[in-house]
């Protein structure tokens, strides 16, 4: 009897360990230290976790590129892998600047490796994997200036490893674009201390939320984390609300308007009603004008945040923002490196959801509308790559930073530049409000201005004039590669071999 009980306990313990992974494993007895470097810690990790490191180095988190898997319109047949490593955006623009891509030294602080600060980096070397940035829960782990912060207690950090918390993921994802809350609009450090009104899922249980970690929704297998972004070409599978909210957990079951609400689900994404505003706790950046960089203008702060830096240009900010609504079928149109700009007097669509009222697979989703102004080669008519870190930010010399950007990226610079306006539509999926704060009929219908029905392809407010997707017009709000003001010549594809 005793033996069978012991067996039962051991079995239960093993099951707990296997289902909860390292959360249940106290590493204190396994890790003695001391450690002189992050790589020393990784070598210790590899004694037991060689397979995990092998899995990790295959992922886009490590490689900063991956297959597009049909995510980007016009690139369906592409065999080239894309990601942060070879794409441009309207924020810090690129990681490729510098004769030896020195810009990676700063941008690479969010690369989970020791230390990707130049063009060459051995992606096959597992000892370079930074396990701690995702797994350390103590020891003030962090990297700054291309090395581990002197605030870090490496042994304490190594002993504290566990499944990643939202703070681990947030260490990089909150600060996309160069500072807290800059890029995303629905992700910033206020989520670390969120109450239910900010995010019903990520707020702790003590604060009325569900206490989710990121990987509760972003299902992870063999260190490959599911998720897709309207900004990135690489695609690791989408996360849907319906992954949980279906079957017995289907939405609106207790609502007296259940039938009406569920009828909306054919055309309207959950996020559209359940993210009434984004950047609710902290302002997010809504524009970046690089053309004012190097000038001596003075711009007062906006929403309590810095609005100008001499090396970086002018920024606009907004808090508690009503999203822009667009059709989205899960694919995007995306400006890629080397795409030629057809008409520089018109904005270039950097990234946009694809979809229209005519496509049954598309739904109306909320987006952050972001405007940019960034350098464009005046002769070759494509967006330029320049060196900002250890470049423009220090030298305040556009010409030199553009020349050095060309050297690192291989994208030629003619010697003449101008500035092009850009527009980005950035998906909003986090900061889900409590149901009592969700949009109601009057927020979008009956004269409300929140949604531009005609821009979405309707003849008017479908609640007033009847119909819905069956009452479609010929207007489609979607941005197709053909009308996005750039010509996709697949420059990278042609030149990267």
């Amino acid at each position: 009897m005793k033996k069978s009980l012991t067996g039962l306990f051991i079995g239960a313990a093993l099951l707990a360990i296997s289902t909860n992974g390292m959360a249940q494993v106290d590493h204190a007895d396994m890790i003695t230290g001391p450690f002189k470097s992050g790589t020393d810690v990784t070598k210790k990790c590899l004694e037991c976790h060689e397979k995990e490191a092998g899995d990790f180095i295959k992922t886009s988190h490590w490689r900063w590129k991956g297959p597009t898997n049909g995510h980007v319109r016009g690139y369906e047949k592409s065999k080239v892998e894309y990601g942060k490593t070879n794409m441009l955006n309207a924020f810090c623009v690129t990681v490729e600047g510098g004769p030896n891509q020195e810009a990676r030294g700063h941008c690479g602080e969010c690369h989970p490796g020791y230390v990707w600060n130049q063009k060459n980096f051995d992606f096959a070397d597992k000892t370079k994997v930074d396990c701690l940035v995702c797994h350390a829960q103590a020891g003030d782990y962090g990297r700054e200036n291309e090395q581990i912060s002197d605030f870090t207690d490496l042994k304490k950090a190594a002993v504290s490893v566990s499944v990643p918390t939202i703070k681990n993921c947030g260490a990089c994802h909150y600060s996309g674009g160069g500072d807290d809350g800059v890029k995303h609009g629905d992700l910033d450090s206020t989520l670390n201390r969120a109450d239910k009104s900010l995010d019903v899922h990520m707020a702790s249980k003590e604060k009325g939320g569900l206490g989710f970690n990121c990987q509760t929704c972003h299902k992870t297998k063999d260190h490959n984390i599911s998720g897709a972004s309207t900004m990135m070409a690489t695609y690791s599978g989408r996360v849907f609300c319906e992954d949980c909210h279906s079957g017995g957990n289907a939405p609106h079951q207790k609502s007296r308007n259940k039938a009406i609400l569920n009828n909306h689900l054919k055309s309207v994404a959950c996020q559209t009603c359940h993210i009434p505003h984004f950047a609710r706790a902290k302002a997010t950046r809504t524009g970046w004008d690089w053309s004012t960089a190097t000038s001596d203008i003075k711009v007062p702060p906006q929403e309590g945040r810095v609005a100008f830096a001499k090396g970086k240009g002018t920024w606009t900010w907004a808090k508690n923002v009503v999203p822009t609504y667009m059709w989205y079928d899960g694919t995007i149109t995306r400006y890629m490196k080397g795409d030629k700009i057809k008409d520089p007097s018109k904005p270039v669509i950097m990234m946009s959801p694809y979809g229209s009222i005519n496509e049954k697979s598309a739904k109306i989703y909320p987006f952050k509308y972001f405007t940019g102004k960034q350098p464009m080669d005046a002769t070759y008519k494509y967006l330029s790559i320049f060196q900002q870190y250890k470049g423009l930010w220090d030298t305040l010399n556009w010409q030199k930073s553009l020349e050095d950007g060309a050297k690192g990226s291989g994208l030629p610079y003619s010697g003449k530049y101008e500035f092009a306006s850009t527009i980005s539509y950035i998906g909003q999926d986090h900061m889900i409000a409590p149901k009592e704060d969700a949009l109601t009929c009057g927020d979008c219908h009956m004269g409300a201005t929140r949604i531009d029905w005609k821009a979405l392809g309707y003849k008017g407010d479908p609640m007033l004039i009847g119909g819905g997707r069956s009452n479609k017009s010929s207007i489609a709000h979607t941005v197709k590669p053909a009308d996005s003001n750039f010509i996709q010549e697949n420059w990278v594809e042609k030149h990267s071999h």
Binding site: C92, H106, A138, D140, G142, E144, S149, D150, F151, A171, Y174, S175, G178, D179, D180, S189, T190, K282, P301, G304, R305, V306, A307, F308, A309, K312, Y389, W393
Partner: protein, 108 residues
């Protein structure tokens, strides 16, 4: 005998006290903490700021005096704002915490 024992104990306690005071002083030379800014109050002359930070791990607030030009400039143009997480080093001088290093944990 009793007196001698008492004297030894008193001396031992005094020595221990002195030792621990010395220890506190040396430990207080430079204290490192990662904490989140709760409030920033700039002095009227703009030459210093009093910043209150929350150390979540120790569940306590720390008040520091900041007077270096670069950090003050960052307060003034809002590059550093309330809610930012900071790597802070400070020294205790005349009963006050004086910042010697004040950097955000994230951002450019």
């Amino acid at each position: 005998m009793k007196k001698a024992v008492s004297a030894v104990i008193v001396i031992a306690i005094m020595a221990l006290g002195l030792f621990s005071m010395t220890k506190v002083a040396s430990a207080g030379d430079e204290i490192k903490v990662v904490a989140v800014i709760q409030t920033i109050e700039l002095a009227k002359d703009g030459n210093s700021a009093t910043v209150v930070l929350k150390d979540d791990k120790a569940d306590k607030s720390i008040t520091v005096l900041v007077d270096d030009e670069l950090t003050l400039a960052k307060f003034k143009d809002h590059r550093i704002v309330e809610g930012d997480e900071i790597r802070l080093k400070y020294e205790v001088k005349d009963g006050k915490n004086h910042s010697t290093y004040f950097r955000k944990t994230a951002g450019c």
